[in-house]
């Protein structure tokens, strides 16, 4: 065990910090629209070998060898600087790795460069109203008619569906095949008559997701990734990339820091919250969980640096379930610390967040309920841990 980064990486970090002093832009560039400024700085990052590191230069990346530790340093330093680096949008983060692995040469050339440049935006079409944790039961259909796929059905929980140029999605193309074998992975232009997008309001009142309705929408036959009926495997590859993004190591810790900042301002029973033994103890209890997340993350990073991912399969399966619970703990206490101010949505806004526009605690509290549902409900995660992680037998299945 050795938590020092070593001289080579210290140099890398120093150079990177120097580079990041270039953000925010200055001079004439500072007057450009925000999106344009981001595009410029991201381009410089690609040229410097910091952004889209592993994507070949031919497709618009910087063609660097894989190096999870450099990735971590980049994440830390870009995060600290608040600078635009690797986009977290679904196109660059999920579709591009999938195309690199399974796309045709033509698809790679056509889709990857504009996606990385931010000129082509994507949304993901997986979930359906009837298919949540049991995703493979999806019903939206694709029928090959001449040179086109004809699409019908509905997708839900689609971020950015209102603005995206394209969707990558799963459709049932072989209705006769078994559940998992009848699905194809298609790329679909969003701006067409057969597609209608409706905002999906969350219980918090915000509308960050959309429903997408397909009514004889079309996409050319060649816009399929992988073979017909193999879409399920293709999408697993995407999910693998999602999982491989170990995630921002500071994500939970940042939330805990915000909780602490809130606790410094809050009152309990008319006295400062931090003078209350019960509050302090709840904070320290939560900090135990937060540090557990943080150190688990560090452990997975280490394994990935050394190519020993298999040795941390168990913690990798467990992380989502755990961090979901910890996030809920954090915002539950934050909500409690509001006292009766929790009765109103936006009343409380002391300087508790790092960024200048702190979302209300109430919003965070309500939002913290989401992860237990999204991307495979917590009960599904428990099945996976029990069966794949601990070798327990599968549930008895009903006659099918």
């Amino acid at each position: 065990m050795d938590l020092r980064y070593g001289p080579e990486y210290e140099v890398f970090r120093r150079e990177l910090r120097e580079f990041l002093t270039g953000w925010p832009l200055s001079g004439d560039e500072a007057a450009l629209p925000q999106a344009e400024q981001e595009r410029i700085f991201r381009g410089r990052g690609i040229d410097a070998g910091y952004v889209y590191r592993e994507t070949p230069e031919a497709y618009g990346g910087s063609g660097q060898p894989s190096d999870p530790l450099r990735d971590r340093i980049l994440q830390e330093e870009y995060g600290r600087a608040g600078a635009p680096g690797n986009s977290l949008f679904q196109g660059p983060a999920m579709l591009v790795p999938t195309l690199l692995e399974l796309g045709s040469e033509e698809q790679k050339q056509r889709f990857i460069p504009p996606t990385l440049r931010g000129e082509m935006s994507w949304c993901q079409g997986y979930s359906e109203p009837g298919s949540g944790s049991d995703l493979a039961s999806l019903q939206a259909s694709a029928r090959l008619e001449g040179d086109d796929w004809v699409l019908n059905g509905q997708k839900v929980w689609t971020s950015n569906a209102d603005s995206a140029d394209w969707m990558f999605g799963l459709f049932r193309s072989e209705p006769e095949a078994s559940k998992h074998a009848g699905i194809s992975y298609l790329l679909i232009p969003m701006k067409q008559e057969g597609i209608r997008v409706r905002p999906l309001r969350q219980l918090s009142g915000a509308a960050e997701f959309f429903e997408v309705f397909f009514d004889d929408a079309r996409t050319p036959a060649e816009n399929i990734v992988g073979q017909r009926g193999e879409g399920w495997q293709v999408s697993r590859s995407t999910l693998k990339h999602e999982r491989n993004l170990i995630g921002n190591p500071r994500m939970i810790s940042d939330q805990f820091d915000r909780l602490l900042a809130l606790a410094r301002e809050a009152q309990v029973g008319g006295r400062p919250a931090l003078s209350d033994a019960g509050v302090r103890r709840r904070l320290a209890e939560i900090e135990g969980f937060v540090r557990a997340c943080e150190t688990s993350n560090l452990r997975m990073l280490s394994a990935s640096i050394r190519g020993e991912e298999m040795q941390v399969m168990l913690p990798m399966m467990m992380t989502k379930l755990y961090s979901t619970d910890v996030t809920q703990m954090i915002w539950k206490l934050a909500y409690d610390l509001l006292g009766t101010a929790g009765l109103t949505d936006c009343e409380w806004a002391p300087n508790y967040a790092r960024d200048s526009t702190p979302p209300a605690v109430v919003q965070n509290y309500l939002f913290s309920l989401g992860p237990a549902i999204a991307g495979g409900a917590s009960n599904i995660q428990r099945n996976i841990i029990g069966e794949r992680g601990l070798g327990l037998p599968r549930d008895p299945r009903p006659p099918s």
Partner: protein, 359 residues
């Protein structure tokens, strides 16, 4: 010895339940909720026809002369139906007038409140943030009230407010009194909007025995909120049971998955067995004064926590749907959040209960 509902009490609940089912079914509730117009005058008129605004008003002033227990029993039904409207707070205001008002004060205000012709609300929280913290409340100097009261339910609708004072007493302020400015708050529960009252030398009348009445109203309020949360939590359990029976995943209703079934069993157990807690506390308000404050604090804290935890699980068991605005679960979830936070969080009431319990 009977720790259960009398026929009259059961009938009271049934009547109100029937009214809500008929007049404010989920479709109507959803309309009111989305419009944000929580005071529906037709609903209020209907409630007045079955005598509910006068529930706690003495018979001599045209009411039913009932107590904190009957108010709480009604609140269970209000919570179960997530009924929009000021009935809970109106009931507490009439209780304050009954307990704290001189004869002339009672005669002056109560009849119109009993009939539902006028609507009353309570303003017990100042800027201190703690229910027993009098220092942050508005002050009454001669007959002029100055200060701020926050989180006042139906502040934009009520004709009359019972306001807790810095000196521990209570005062009555009319809606159209000079120097009263009402500012809407962006409340979390759209079935019960809130507002802030700003008083600037506003004419107000002190209730004769307001200090004693404050304790009575506070304890009855905690019971009423506990009961509302109890009703809301049971509604969420029922809703989730029905959803689990019909929602199919992996080829069978999710209710067949043992972990779902056990989660539902735990939710139902947690709420059902706390019924006696609010019953007893409300009964104590009416009949066992010495126990009332502690039992009310325990009931509010306990049921408030249980209800929100049940709501959280109800969201989770509804899957993606539960996370949407469309799904009615959110209406009850926010109802439970309101009941838990209004007039103080569980922690605050546990601190009070510990002190009142002598430990």
């Amino acid at each position: 010895m009977h720790f259960g509902l009398s026929e009259e009490q059961a009938l009271l609940q049934e009547t109100l339940r029937g009214f809500i089912e008929a007049e404010c079914p989920p479709t109507r509730l959803r309309e009111i909720f989305d419009e944000g117009a929580a005071h529906d005058s037709a609903l209020w008129k209907g409630l007045a026809e079955i005598g509910l605004p006068g529930l706690c008003v003495p018979e001599s002033e045209g009411g039913a002369g009932l107590g904190a227990l009957e108010l709480a029993l009604c609140c269970e039904e209000l919570g179960a139906g997530a009924l929009p409207g000021p009935l809970l707070f109106h009931g507490l205001a009439t209780l304050a007038l009954r307990e704290g008002g001189a004869a002339a004060q009672r005669e002056r205000w109560l009849p119109a409140l009993a009939s539902g012709e006028r609507v009353a609300s309570i303003a017990l929280e100042g800027v201190g943030g703690s229910i027993d913290d009098a220092a942050g409340r508005p002050a009454l100097d001669a007959a002029a009230l100055t200060g701020v009261a926050r989180h006042v339910p139906f502040a934009e609708v009520a004709d009359l407010f019972v306001v807790a004072l810095m000196d521990g007493g209570l005062a009555v302020v009319e809606r159209d009194a000079q120097g009263l400015v009402v500012e809407a708050e962006s409340g979390i529960d759209r079935t019960r909007p809130l507002g802030t009252l700003h008083f600037d030398a506003t004419p107000a009348e002190r209730l004769e025995t307001g200090a004693e009445a404050f304790d009575v109203v506070r304890d009855a309020a905690l019971c009423a909120l506990a009961a509302d949360a109890f009703g809301a939590a049971w509604a969420l359990v029922r809703m989730t049971v029905e959803y689990a029976k019909t929602r199919q995943q992996f080829g069978r209703p999710i209710a067949e998955f043992q972990s779902v079934k056990h989660q539902l069993a735990d939710m139902a157990t947690a709420i059902e067995l706390s019924r006696g807690l609010y019953w007893y506390a409300a009964y104590a308000c009416d009949h066992i004064k010495a126990e009332a404050s502690q039992q009310a604090a325990l009931a509010k804290a306990h049921i408030g926590d249980q209800a929100v935890e049940i709501a959280r699980q109800a969201v989770e068991l509804h899957g993606g749907l539960g996370f949407t605005w469309e799904c009615d679960v959110q209406i009850w979830f926010k109802r439970a959040l309101f009941d838990r936070a209004f007039l103080g969080t569980p922690d605050e009431h546990r601190d009070r209960a510990a002190a009142l319990g002598g430990y």
